[in-house]
Amino acid sequence: MNGLHDIGGMQGLGPVPREADEPVFHAEWEKRVFALMVSTLGGGAFNAGEFRHAVNERLDQSQYLTLDYYERWIQGIEMLLIEKGLITQDELKNRFEKLSKEVG
């Protein structure tokens, strides 16, 4: 499938955005997403090819454009773990709501 991620040679994108003294991660949540991916991948929940496919081609292509890099990762991890039957959408929804109430 032809996807938005296939951008080699595309024109009109402007200068390469660089950042001085860039940290490895830019926020605590990025660290958590990264660790969850490495850990579930290492545990055999999915393989690297499945993950790459999930965060690039399989995303709703409007999401590919609007989501941050590690937001695409969380989307991909959730998608694969649900498909593998390891978690459910309801579990995610219920836990999110429970945590929201605790935070207030």
Binding site: Q11, V16, E22, V33, G42, I74, I77, E91, S100
Partner: protein
Amino acid sequence: MSNTGRNGQPHDTEPKDIDLRIKALESILLDKGLVDAQGLNEIIETYENRIGPHNGAQIVARAWTKSDYKKWLLNDGTAAIASLGFTGIEGADVVVVENTPNVHNVIVCTLCSCYPWPILGLPPRWYKSAAYRARVVMEPRSVLAEFGLVLEEQCEVRVWDSTAEVRYMVLPERPPGSEGLDEKSLAELVTRDSMIGVARL
């Protein structure tokens, strides 16, 4: 940081929501025993502190000082790199390409963000940016010029686009004036950008 808001997140993301979403997933996986808390923290610690361009720098310094090692590195990068203890995710198949006065190499992953983690760490944001991925294969000289590297016209540019399996690393040229230095001191001269190929030393 560029084009992002608080905590480095895109301006249209609610920081609280993304935090909670990840906490929800993490706590479910912890409850089910699919991940463990200590393991997660170790992964973060490893990639923040232990894995990074200082690993690649050791490889480069070894290649500069030991011709047999350099030959091995260019023939079978994966094995030569593993011999120094650098293995793991995103390092299963590494090809090392050598810069010379007449050939300059630069690496990219046009489709996503493939990068040799065990030797360079996690990629900087610009490496993952649409602009770098799109442009470096089309107009490498102007992209390199943005990084402050203006190549001589007669110097050939080779751009290496990662595949699903293969990761590349550039072996930069040994800088002038470094003749008397030992391997450890040489390693300190090697930068991340020189091993991506967007800088010379």
